[in-house]
């Protein structure tokens, strides 16, 4: 039987599991305990991505497509999974997938292979050298283990000529880098892998992935110490945002952090930590007091060392593009912030972005609120709703009946809340937010109902339903309860999700903003690409023009798209924006269109001026923000535009046009 026939036969047997595996997006939510289920025992013990649920899905996909052949290590990977079901609970919350079905299929597939079908992978001299540094079990050249890193640091078309190494300390990383240099092998660190997972399907893939060499998986650097006296936390590169926040909260402190699964050190290195707390807590080097870094020569440095080159500055300009961090951050001393006793949250609904933007900038300039952001209805729907379909219906209702296209989302103390209430026509308060979270499935069923049709005839439907006479009808009608929302999950998970949604934090928007477990839903069975940047905010019309431009380009390329958010920075002097393109990462045509939109919008932003695009601040999170943001980027000339195109061609190859 030919290989194609064998694969076809397997694919038909495992169709459901293959579909699940393909929809996996490497959001990484299975690698930390955000629901109180405990961690995947296998991943916790063995560390390599291959032993985590996301890795099993990737391996299964690779085996079924013929990308990798079974090795003896596969038996260990399969047997390390006890089918305990933790992954189903975690993944279902975030992506509505059931990865355990993939684990079962992988086990069935492996059990049915003959003993002679498992390749033996010998140790070579490089692996031997790496094992001498980190210990026998923490380095591998096994193709199955390597293949689990595809899409999060390895391009899908790459040969699997890599080594994976999991050091425990900064000193081991230093030795690995020196070893790599002596053997002329490229290397790259890997943390959560989510950023690369979003970039890998696109045209940026080969530019950001490692082409060969040594992957340094940083998961084992798990130091986490809080110092309440100095309001700081010492955090190793293996620690996620969620894990740090959990420790900080025990001391009534908060760290400024990215999405729950993002590794703190990697996030500083890559994008400098973007969050709703940014106007107050800052960005880039504002977030830490010290970092420990291993440079490309393997030398260990601290940013506080007196005898090193200024670690906080960068060249600037539109051609200052960097596709790798300036070394490997192994440890960071993060600033922590006290949490006020009277913190509260309000959402202010808006039909038009112009009005929402005007309000958020006024709040930022007056330094009102600790957390400030304009969220689009798309983000609100995706975050609050447990499934794609409910999110879709929720968003439809927001747009069609409630005229709720944006919310100004403010967390602050009682005084802040009072100011917002005075400025707003109506607010959505904490109690109503809880109702919307637990009642989202029921609200979605009201789509096209008479109730909503009548409501839409109101002058301000949002005001009528959230702060007017219809509020009590909505509260009653939604029957918002943990039991109600749990019904949307598979029957065997409903008891579990009733308990999850009974926890106060699951409906507490302040907790959700701090721990950020909901953004993973943007990667629910499909990917998104975030076109992001910073724009000087003195001219708010320019921000609106920018959003229009981003929208028009996405329409041109027939993409599902919408503004994600706008958040003010530095007392509203500038604003951070994220505009998202959603796409099926398994569809090559969609991937091509996303890539074209990405490049065209980047170029257009450079032509507009006053905008610093993600391509220009990527991997600059270690620097002082003033050195990254100033001088304000001027609109590029035609000559500079030609140079930009040359640069992009140099990065991506001349064949890619937009």
């Amino acid at each position: 039987m030919s290989l194609e026939n064998i694969l076809e036969k397997q694919n038909s047997k495992y169709e459901e599991a293959i579909n699940i595996a393909k929809k996996g997006t490497h959001c990484g939510m299975c690698r930390f305990d955000f629901l109180g289920t405990g961690l995947c025992p296998s991943g916790k013990k063995y560390g390599f991505v291959a032993y985590w649920p996301q890795g099993r899905m990737q391996i299964f996909k690779n085996l079924m497509s013929g990308k990798v052949k079974p090795t003896k290590k596969l038996i260990e990977i399969v047997n390390s999974c006890s089918l305990c079901g933790i992954c189903d609970k975690q993944c279902n919350f975030a992506t509505y997938l059931r990865p355990e079905k993939v684990a079962k299929s992988l086990k069935d597939y492996t059990d049915n292979l003959n003993k002679n079908e498992f390749q033996d992978v010998p140790e070579d001299e490089i692996l031997k050298g790496l094992r001498e540094i980190v210990g026998e079990e923490w380095a591998s050249n096994d193709p199955v283990i390597i293949s689990s890193y595809i899409q999060t640091i390895i391009h899908p078309d790459s040969e699997l000529n890599f080594y994976i190494v999991m050091p425990k300390s900064t000193e081991e990383i230093s030795k690995i880098i020196k070893f790599a240099n002596n053997h002329n092998l490229p290397f790259m660190p890997r943390s959560g892998g989510t950023l690369l997972a979003c970039a890998t399907p696109t045209v940026l893939s080969k530019a950001v992935c490692l082409d060969q060499g040594i992957i340094i998986d940083l998961l084992r650097l798990n130091k986490l110490e809080i110092d309440t006296k100095s309001y700081t936390a010492t955090v190793g590169a293996g620690i996620t945002a969620f894990e740090l926040q959990k420790e900080a909260y025990k001391h009534k402190l908060r760290a400024n952090l990215a999405e729950a699964g993002a590794h703190v050190c990697a996030n500083i290195a890559s994008t400098g930590i973007t969050s709703t707390w940014q106007n107050r807590y800052g960005w880039a080097a504002d977030n830490f007091t010290d970092v420990r870094i291993v440079d490309d020569n393997g030398d260990i440095k601290n940013s506080s060392d007196m005898d090193i080159k200024n670690p906080y500055t960068t060249e600037g300009g539109f051609t200052d593009i960097t596709l790798s961090p300036p070394g490997i951050i192994t440890e960071v001393t993060m600033k922590l912030h006290p949490i006020a006793d009277d913190e509260d949250v309000v959402l202010v609904p808006f039909e038009h972005l112009k009005d929402a933007l005007s309000m958020i900038m006024k709040l930022a300039q007056r330094n009102v609120g600790v957390s400030l952001i304009v969220l689009s209805r798309k983000y609100l729907s995706e975050f609050l709703c447990p499934t794609n379909q409910i999110a879709k219906d929720f968003e439809y209702i927001c747009e069609k009946y409630l005229k709720l296209n944006y919310v100004v989302d403010v967390i602050g103390n009682k005084d802040d809340k009072k100011i917002v209430e005075e400025m707003a026509d109506c607010i959505i308060d904490k109690s109503m937010i809880k109702t919307l979270i637990l009642g989202a499935p029921k609200l979605a069923t009201l789509k096209d109902s008479e109730f909503l049709k009548v409501l839409s005839e109101e002058k301000n439907p949002s005001k009528a339903i959230f702060a007017g006479p219809m509020r009590k009808h909505l509260e009653k009608g939604l029957e918002a309860s943990p039991e109600q929302i749990a019904k949307v999950f598979d029957e065997d998970l409903q008891d579990f999700f009733t308990k999850v949604y009974s926890k106060p934090e699951m409906t507490d928007l302040i907790w959700l903003h701090s721990f950020r477990i909901l953004p993973s839903r943007l990667m629910r069975q499909r990917l998104f690409f975030a076109q992001a940047g910073m724009i000087w905010a003195a001219d708010q019309n320019k921000i609106l023009k920018l959003i229009d431009m981003l929208s028009n380009v996405c329409d041109k390329y027939k993409l599902e798209h919408m503004l994600g958010f706008i958040l003010p920075m530095d007392d509203g002097k500038y604003a951070f924006f994220e505009y998202d393109y959603y796409y099926n990462h398994n569809d090559p045509d969609a991937v091509k269109r996303v890539s074209q939109a990405l490049l065209e919008t980047t170029e257009n932003c450079l032509v507009m001026g006053d905008i610093l695009m993600v391509l220009n601040y990527l991997f600059k999170g270690l620097y002082r923000k003033e050195h990254v943001l100033y001088p304000i980027p001027k609109a590029i000339s035609n000559d500079e535009r030609a140079l930009f195109r040359e640069l992009i061609e140099s990065i991506l190859g001349e064949e890619f046009k937009w």
Binding site: N184, I321, T322, S650, I651
Partner: protein, 137 residues
Amino acid sequence: MVKFLSEEWIEIGKNYIVDKLDPIKDLKSITTSLLGVVEHIPPDDITMNFYLELEDGKLKDLIVNTGDTFEEKKAAYEIRGNYGTYKSILMGEMSLGIAVLKNRLKVKGSKLQALKLIKPLDGVIVALKEITDEFLD
């Protein structure tokens, strides 16, 4: 077989650039000089460098030395990287631009100015790719 950084490599490289590359079309009439430092050369882990000078797109000098400096002439730009990186570039596995942007090749001086040279230098890289077919492991 022409080995990277050998005497023969210099001679054939010079001839190739002079004979096959058009100073205007291929080398964009550039005037610049570049010191390429190659670190971790096997088997003894030595460092070598090559000095390349172009004037109005015409080759003025291509010199190979040991060590990481070239005292006789001061180059406008210095790029530094390990032997494996240069090998990847000359084997066509990685572009010069990507190597710079990924920090595999470190630029001394203005990165902006160096990146402006990438396109004209592509011509030289193509030439060196054509003639280099042996590397040390």
